[in-house]
C-alpha cells in the first residue's frame, strides 16, 4: 500500500512535468526535489524523470561548486577540491549512476550518507548533476553531397544540478541584508543588494520586497542561498524596466527561511532603493 501511494506521488510529479513543458527533445529531464539537506544519519531519494519524447540515457554524478561573491557557482575540478569538499564527496553515496529511461519513466535515485567518526562539525556539500548522455553525433552524413561550405552541428549536453548538503554537529548561522539598489547590467535592469552571512552553515530562504502601504509584494525570489565558503554575496535579480522604476524608494526587504522549515525571518530591513 505504502509503495503504491509513493508510486502515485512520483506519477503526479511526472504528469506535472509533462504538462508544464510542451517541448520534448531527447534528454529533457525533471528532477525532484530541488535541494537535499541530510543530518548524517539517514539518506533520501531523488526522482529523475525522462520528460522527452524518446528514450534517453542519463548519467548522475557529484560535482563540487563554490559560491562566488557575485552569487554565482564556480565549478571546481575534483583535483582542486579542498579537504571539506573531498569529505563531502566521500560521505555521499548514490545509486544508480547511469540509467536509460523511456519517455515519462521516473527513476528513484537513492542517496545515502555515511559520516566517518571524528568528522569535524560543519556543513559538507556537493552538487548532484543529472544529465543526458547524447547519442554520438554522426560525423558524416553519406546522403548529403559534399559542398564547398561547412555545415555546423552543435549538440548541447544539458542537465540540472541540485545541492546535497550534509550537516554534522550543532550548527547555526545568521544573515544581514545590506544596502539595496537598482542597477543596470548587460542583461537589463536588476534589483541588487548584499547578503552578509555569519556562522558555520549556509543560510537559505526566500526574499520578499514589499512597499509600505501596498498589499502585494513588489518582488519575490525563492531559493536564495549564502554558502559557508562566502561571508557575503551579492544578490542581483533581473527585473523588467517598469518594475525597476517602481522599486525605487522605500521598501521592506525580508529574507525568510524556506517554507518547508517554517518560514521564520532570517533578517528584515527597511531600505531606500536608489
Amino acid at each position: 500500500m505504502l509503495r503504491f501511494l509513493k508510486g502515485f506521488g512520483l506519477f503526479s510529479a511526472a504528469v506535472l512535468g509533462a504538462a508544464a513543458s510542451p517541448a520534448n527533445a531527447a534528454g529533457d529531464l525533471l528532477v525532484a526535489p530541488t535541494r537535499v539537506v541530510l543530518d548524517g544519519s539517514r539518506g533520501t531519494e531523488v526522482v529523475l524523470n525522462n520528460i522527452g519524447s524518446a528514450p534517453a540515457t542519463y548519467r548522475i554524478s557529484l560535482e563540487i561548486k563554490r559560491m562566488t561573491a557575485l552569487g554565482g557557482l564556480d565549478e571546481i575540478e575534483e583535483a582542486d577540491a579542498n579537504a571539506a569538499e573531498k569529505a563531502a564527496l566521500a560521505m555521499i553515496s548514490f545509486n544508480p549512476r547511469r540509467v536509460t529511461l523511456p519517455p515519462n519513466q521516473p527513476q528513484v535515485i537513492r542517496v545515502g550518507v555515511r559520516v566517518p567518526e571524528g568528522t569535524p562539525a560543519g556543513e559538507y556539500r556537493a552538487h548532484m548533476l543529472f544529465r543526458a548522455v547524447p547519442d554520438a553525433a554522426p560525423a558524416t552524413d553519406p546522403a548529403k553531397p559534399v559542398t564547398s561550405g561547412v555545415s555546423i552541428a552543435l549538440t548541447p549536453i544539458y542537465g540540472i544540478t541540485i545541492p546535497v548538503i550534509v550537516r554534522v554537529g550543532e550548527l547555526g548561522a545568521s544573515a544581514q541584508i545590506g544596502e539595496a539598489r537598482v542597477e543596470e547590467t548587460v542583461d537589463g535592469p536588476a534589483f541588487a543588494f548584499d547578503l552578509t552571512r555569519s556562522g558555520n552553515r549556509s543560510v537559505y530562504g526566500d526574499i520578499e520586497v514589499t512597499r509600505p502601504g501596498l498589499a502585494e509584494p513588489l518582488l519575490l525570489a525563492r531559493g536564495i542561498a549564502v554558502y559557508p565558503e562566502v561571508g557575503q554575496r551579492k544578490v542581483s535579480l533581473r527585473v523588467p524596466a517598469e518594475l525597476a522604476a517602481q522599486l525605487k524608494g522605500p521598501v521592506k526587504i525580508r529574507y525568510s527561511e524556506d517554507r518547508e522549515v517554517g518560514g521564520g525571518t532570517i533578517d528584515e530591513a527597511d531600505r531606500v532603493v536608489k
Partner: protein
C-alpha cells in the same frame, strides 16, 4: 490574484502532505497511514539548437556571430546561408525560484573531412527567476572560421546546466 490564492492553498496542502509523510515514515509498520509526497521539482527542456547554418569560407579568417536572440552577423569574406538560431532552454519549477545558469564558454568543433573550428558561447542570463509559467535562457556564440576552412560537417558538444542553489 485568484491564481495566487489557489497556489498558496495547493502549497499548504503540499507542506501538510510532506509533514505527514515525515511522521508516517517512523510508523510505517504500525498502521496503514496513507501518504503522498509532493516534491518540488525542476524541469529543463531544450527547444532549439544553436545553429550557424551553412558557411562558405573565404580567403581570410573571419567570424560568424549568432546572438542570444538568434540573429546572425556574417563576417567579412564569408557567405552564410540557411536559418540561424540560438539554443533555447525552458526551465519550469516553483514560481519565484531563482535558478543559476552555468555552462561552457567555448566549444571545439571537429570536421568530418578533417579540420577544427572553435566557437565562443554567450548566455542570455546568469540567473533566471521563474514565473508561474517558468522561464528560459538562450545560448548564442561566435564561430571562428579559418581562411579556406576545410569543407565538411562540423560537430561539437557543449555543457549547459541549470543549477539550484
Amino acid at each position: 490574484m485568484r491564481t495566487i490564492g489557489m497556489k498558496r492553498a495547493l502549497l499548504g496542502a503540499a507542506i501538510a502532505a510532506l509533514a505527514m509523510n515525515a511522521s508516517a515514515a517512523h510508523a510505517a509498520s504500525a498502521t496503514g497511514t496513507a501518504k503522498a509526497k509532493i516534491l518540488r521539482q525542476i524541469t529543463l527542456t531544450n527547444t532549439s539548437d544553436l545553429q550557424y547554418a551553412t558557411v562558405i569560407s573565404g580567403a581570410t579568417a573571419s567570424t560568424v556571430a549568432v546572438s542570444t536572440s538568434g540573429a546572425a552577423t556574417c563576417g567579412a569574406g564569408l557567405t552564410c546561408t540557411g536559418t540561424t538560431s540560438a539554443a533555447n532552454f525552458n526551465i519550469a519549477g516553483t514560481s519565484g525560484a531563482v535558478v543559476l545558469v552555468g555552462g561552457d564558454s567555448s566549444v571545439t568543433l571537429n570536421g568530418s573531412l578533417g579540420g577544427t573550428m572553435s566557437s565562443t558561447l554567450t548566455y542570455s542570463a546568469s540567473n533566471v527567476t521563474l514565473t508561474a509559467t517558468g522561464g528560459s535562457f538562450q545560448v548564442g556564440g561566435t564561430l571562428s572560421v579559418g581562411a579556406n576552412q576545410t569543407a565538411g560537417d562540423y560537430s561539437g558538444t557543449f555543457n549547459v546546466t541549470a543549477n539550484y542553489q
